[in-house]
């Protein structure tokens, strides 16, 4: 291994991965795995499910090679797949539990989920990654209600109708909050691309 090799860009690594370069695949893995695992672990209850979702994302990148650099970064691609697979596992887990609890005639009230936002509040910044602090600053600019809407969609996979039901808010209000919060994050994403 070269003593002082420069860190390769994501784009260079993706190109090498397409050609079947194991070391490039390993580098991409090391670069993104903790971020993806943190996300998956925030969505599912079982760490094994979080590992499965992360493995699915990397294997899809390796196997299908369907990441399109014109449409976004490989980081966003991996996040999208990881989140989607984690939500699938979360839903399957919830269905299984509902079946089990139905079988045991459990108190249906036990199925209700607390109203708190699944998205961390700004005062938990100590738990955030360094890179996450800037995102956190942005999240701090949105209201608790906006954060709740984004969190329910992002980490629990609820549709905006389901969020409106859960929060007892009008659907239009939920849509607006979701959009405003995502717009703030989009501005941050654009600023990062301009000055990485």
């Amino acid at each position: 291994m070269p003593v002082a090799s420069a860190e390769r860009s994501d784009a260079a690594l993706v190109a090498a991965v397409r050609a079947g370069d194991e070391r490039a695949f390993g580098e991409l893995y090391d670069r993104y795995v903790d971020r993806l695992f943190s996300l998956a672990a925030a969505i599912v209850d079982d760490p094994a499910d979080a590992e499965g979702a992360v493995a699915d994302a990397f294997l899809r990148l390796w196997r299908d090679r369907d990441h399109d650099a014109d449409r976004g970064s490989v980081g966003a691609y991996l996040v999208m797949i990881t989140r989607s697979r984690a939500l699938d596992r979360r839903r399957a887990d919830r269905r299984r539990r509902r079946r089990e609890e139905k079988g045991a005639e459990a108190d249906p009230a036990g199925l209700t989920v607390p109203l708190a936002s699944p998205m961390p509040a700004p005062d938990r910044a100590a738990e955030m990654s360094e890179a996450g602090e800037r995102v956190h600053e942005v999240l701090a600019q949105v209201t608790e209600k906006q954060r709740a809407v984004i969190g329910l969609a992002y980490l629990e996979g609820l549709t905006h109708s389901e969020i409106a039901d859960r929060l007892s808010e009008p659907l239009g209000t939920v849509k607006t909050r979701l959009r405003d919060g995502m717009n703030k994050l989009r501005e941050l994403a654009a600023a990062r691309r301009a000055s990485p």
Partner: protein
Amino acid sequence: MNGPNRADLAAAYVLDALDADERRAFEARMARDPSLRAEVDSYREAMGLLAEAVPRRSAPSALRDRVMSEARAVRPMAPAPAPPPSRLPWYLAAAAVVAAVSLGLANRQLLQSRASLEAALERSDEQVAAQSAEIASRDSLLAAFLGPDVRSTTLVSTEELPAARIFHNVASGSVVIAAFDLPPAPVGRIYQLWGIPDGGDPVSLGTFQTTAAGTALLRTSAPEGSTFAVGAITEEPEGGSAQPTSTPFLVGEWAQQ
């Protein structure tokens, strides 16, 4: 679609927060409107950032070994290892099944397959739109299977249904799958397409799910320049398998140039 409504829908679409009807309508719209797709992509980057706002956890170190070893099983990593010794695996038996099904029928279907898939595309704009997240554009889809270097196969079962047609552009590696009358795989399971080289192990060509109507139309890819003697579809655990774990229910010999 006015400005605020458009942004509402694009932001919600990226988060999978649209209801099913809204989602279908939005995907149909997006297939016709490249600027809407660009808007979606920009929100996708925003979603990528959200992953950094969750409490940080370190992935277990064993996960790395697992991913690398599964990746090696899916396709060889460079430098490519020597091909495994040939065995008499299920796919050779599968080829015999295909011959037994009816060579005449298969040949006729092969001849008709391009024309009928084009016709199906004409009839099913909506279906193509719904799959647009997987398909870069209809033009490139057509180019992928109408090119001069395309090999096709019709996968059949011993029953009349279901059926699937596979088009493989050897030069570009593009693969198009069109499946019909195939009920969606059960929860936690997915369909996986395999290309089997002459004398080699099956190569995964991707996973897919069918619609409630039993159809799928999507594009995936094979290693550039690779050719396959047999195509097959199996049902696998969600996320796909490195090698088939079940007997294929659809098999077909690939037409040679």
